[in-house]
């Protein structure tokens, strides 16, 4: 059964790029445009890996990570932050909120697949 990855980003381009890359690698991908929407989507069932942007409207990535880690259902799901180099401070914040790892935008598709594999249970 294909692994299910949830990509959370307010940029449609970024979401589609992540989805495109991972679908080609055989993953099942769902998309959410902010933290709040991600939580809605996760109500339907937990993801195997979550990839989230940090800077988003409504609910940002750090809050999303913190919220998920406080929920027993999502406590141990690998969460990757998709960040830019200018998010350095935010990255540390995300890490302490419970993020598993990170990827730097713009990402190399192979690296994305690689990292997703690396953190997948």
């Amino acid at each position: 059964m294909a692994k299910y990855v949830l990509t959370v980003d307010d940029s449609r381009t970024m979401r589609e790029m992540v989805a495109f890359t991972l679908r080609k690698a055989g993953y099942q991908v769902r998309e959410a445009e902010d933290g709040q929407k991600a939580i809605e989507v996760l109500k339907a069932g937990p993801a195997d890996v979550i990839i989230t942007d940090l800077n988003m409207p409504v609910m940002d990535g750090v809050t999303l990570i913190r919220t998920l880690r406080a929920d027993p259902k999502h406590r141990s799901v690998p969460i990757l932050m998709l960040t830019t180099e200018s998010d350095a401070g935010k990255k540390a914040e995300g890490k302490s909120a419970g993020a598993t790892g990170w990827l730097v935008k713009p990402f190399d598709p192979d690296k994305l697949i690689d990292v997703v594999k690396r953190v997948s249970p």
């Binding site: 692994k3 055989g26 998309e31 800077n55 200018s86 419970g98």
Partner: protein, 671 residues
């Protein structure tokens, strides 16, 4: 989906993001900003940059990056917004738009045109621009080692981030053979054990040719949450494994997970993107239904009411639902005029700088929705009107001051829905139309008789005539001809009308009235012989049955109708379309006076007016090819097909070609 598709998505999204950036900047400039405005602005630029990087649009990324740096300072309150910074950000957004357009079209912009701007951002953000920070590229040394000895002592909190030593082992095994030792000495007694803490220290003996960087990469995400030592393995000494890696690690699923087919992917998005073709098919189908329903109603009306008492009520309910369905489907095609309005502030900024004028553009009603096709085709006429307003309307600051006006001129662009149509208004507080000059010009060009007496409104209308220009100086902005005839033609092609009101010295106001959709037309059904035709209501000025004394025959040029001191050429439709058994005597027929953009007013001679109704436009071109004078077809309630007349097309074929201009007169630049 492929790479081109992703690119298209990126450009589409970037255009939307830029649009939102412009409106946030406008909000900041006008003091309407709230706490989230600068964050939203930052995100917009950030997303453009993020996607741009993925496609290797380096120049764009570099500019967006310095903009982002500045916005970051503004966001944190380290800097405060002022007009200078807003202006700078607007210029930055303009440049991003240009760079995006260049990437999209594949035409590279001149090298370094953004450099000056990027420098300005860097200076505004307080960056030292003299020092270029080199990008550090880690060159992994090719250490010739047989492998690595790794000691990994996780901090207790390792698991809280969903990191997992077993996954690290799995990764290391991809690099080579791994021997694993677990040091359990730190493991507390069961009653003191925190089940979610990490206690075990691991030693990995990795036999591999992979460089250190590869090994470090495996620990990339945990390096801050552990004590990590990586030493080259110099000897082939192999420690006896306490635990075989194979036993600890679940075998990795072979290859990539299987492609999952058939399982619906629930999208979290609140909107769906639909191909316009699909929407058009829906619009068309609903159109068919509307026609069908009209036929049913007509048939139902012929039945004796007691034959089937429920039928009439049922048909009425059907009509009502159908109307709602039609409106709903039409609404899918509509789009806020924002997308075209959003281009105007930039135009005003650039033009006013170029012309040395101070102009404030006020936009209202940009959320008003109108058919997508109409929105797309509005850009040219609006740009034109705006150029004219700035070039010919708004005076230079000194002139304005001398006239007792504020130095800064105001141009107001608005849209609103008014009784089933969209009204777009563009007004300025400039000098208005100089009617004396317009009249003089029209006489000079032979557009009106030397002794003609025109009302103010009629005088203003003259500016819509082809090749009319009052610009005293040929300007780079508007060119020679004002090109208002082209504007009118564009608007009429959209089924709209344009009118102007002006007060000399106080400004002008252009009103564009447009249909909500192009798929449905407000038509006047007229009969000629046994045939019915549809005239677009938007073109009709008036209809009358003229007395015979007002109809004058011109030898060789047909007949004209004398009306209120002017003459309107008559075009008998039965003649033009070859229809037998029609009323040939214009004084016993009906004359419908229509407005054309290319030939002034024209009197169409028809037998009778049947009624006014909304008709669903069916394209003839798809099946027959274009026919001069016919704009399309529709099906009437009684099932008859009626042709929709194309007024400009009729007018062209009705009039003899205009006499050639004297050679001395240069052709006017219409644009």
């Amino acid at each position: 989906m492929n790479f081109d598709h992703l690119r298209a998505t990126y450009f589409e999204e970037s255009a939307e993001l830029l649009e939102s950036a412009y409106s946030h900047l406008a909000a900041l400039a006008e003091g309407r900003a709230d706490g989230d405005t600068v964050h939203a602005l930052f995100r917009a630029i950030h997303s453009i940059k993020g996607g741009g990087g993925a496609f290797g649009f380096d120049r764009l990324v570099a500019l967006a990056h310095v903009m982002e740096t500045l916005l970051d300072l503004l966001r944190d309150g380290a800097l405060a917004f002022d007009d200078g910074l807003i202006g700078l950000l607007l210029r930055g957004a303009d440049m991003l738009a240009d760079l995006l357009a260049a990437e999209r079209s594949g035409e590279a912009l001149a090298d370094g045109i953004e450099a000056e701007l990027a420098g300005a951002f860097a200076r505004a953000a307080g960056l030292d621009t003299s020092r270029v920070v080199p990008v550090a590229v880690a060159a992994p040394g090719s250490e010739a080692v047989q492998g690595w000895q790794i000691r990994f002592r996780p901090h207790p909190a390792l698991f809280r981030n969903a990191n997992e030593p077993l996954l690290l082992v799995r990764e290391l095994r991809r690099l080579g053979a791994v021997e694993v030792r677990a040091d359990l000495s730190a493991l507390p007694a069961l009653d003191r054990l925190e089940p979610e803490d990490a206690y075990i220290t691991w030693s990995f003996g990795l036999t591999t040719s992979a460089p250190r960087a590869k090994v470090e990469e495996v620990f990339e995400f945990v390096v801050d949450d552990c004590a990590l030592e990586i030493e080259p393995r110099v000897s082939a000494e192999v420690a006896k494994p306490l635990m075989a890696a194979e036993a600890a690690v679940q075998p990795e699923a072979a290859g990539a997970p299987a492609q999952l087919a058939g399982r619906a992917e629930a999208s979290a998005a609140q909107s769906v993107r639909v191909d316009v073709v699909k929407v058009d098919r829906l619009v068309n189908l609903v159109g068919e239904l509307v026609i069908n329903q009209a036929m049913l109603v007509q048939l139902g009306g012929q039945l004796p009411p007691d034959l089937c008492p429920g039928l009439i009520g049922g048909l009425e309910t059907l009509s009502q639902h159908l109307r709602e369905l039609q409106e709903g489907v039409m609404a899918i095609r509509t789009q806020p005029v924002r997308s075209v309005f959003a281009r105007m502030p930039r135009l005003v900024r650039e033009l006013s700088a170029q012309l040395g004028k101070e102009v404030r553009l006020v936009i209202t009603g940009e959320a008003t929705e109108i058919d997508k096709t109409v929105v797309e085709q509005l850009a040219d006429p609006l740009t034109h009107l705006l150029r004219n307003a700035l070039d010919h309307g708004v005076e230079p600051p000194e002139v304005r001051e001398a006239a007792g006006k504020p130095r800064q001129g105001t141009v107001h662009l608005s849209a609103e829905q008014r009784s089933g149509r969209i009204v777009i208004e563009l007004s300025d507080d400039g000098r208005g139309i100089d009617r004396a000059r317009v009249l003089a010009r029209a006489r000079e060009r032979g557009l009106i008789a030397p002794d003609a007496v025109l009302s103010d409104a009629e005088t203003d209308e003259l500016i819509f005539l082809p090749s009319f220009s009052t610009a005293a100086v040929v300007s780079a902005v508007s060119g020679r001809g004002v090109g208002m005839d082209v504007v009118r033609r564009n608007i009429q092609a959209l089924g709209g009308r344009i009118t102007v009101e002006s007060r000399f010295g106080a400004g002008s106001r252009f009103l564009l009235s447009l249909p909500l959709t192009l798929a449905v037309l407000d038509g006047l059904v007229v009969s000629v012989g046994a045939e019915a035709f549809i005239l677009p209501i938007s073109a009709i000025v008036e209809s009358l049955r003229p007395p015979a004394s007002d109809i004058l025959a011109l030898p060789g040029r047909g007949a004209v109708l004398s009306i209120r001191g002017g003459y309107v050429p008559l075009l008998p439709l039965h003649e033009r379309l070859g229809i037998p058994d029609a009323v040939t005597d214009a004084s016993r027929a009906i004359v419908v006076i229509v407005e054309t953009d290319n030939a002034g007013r024209l009197g169409l001679v028809v037998d009778d007016l049947v009624g006014q109704q909304q008709v669903v436009v069916k394209s003839l071109e798809a099946n027959y090819g274009p026919i001069d004078g016919i704009g399309g077809a529709t099906i009437l309630g009684d099932g008859r097909v009626a042709l929709i007349l194309d007024i400009p097309g009729l007018a062209t074929s009705a009039r003899p070609a205009p006499p050639p201009r004297p050679a001395a007169e240069p052709a006017l630049a219409l644009h």
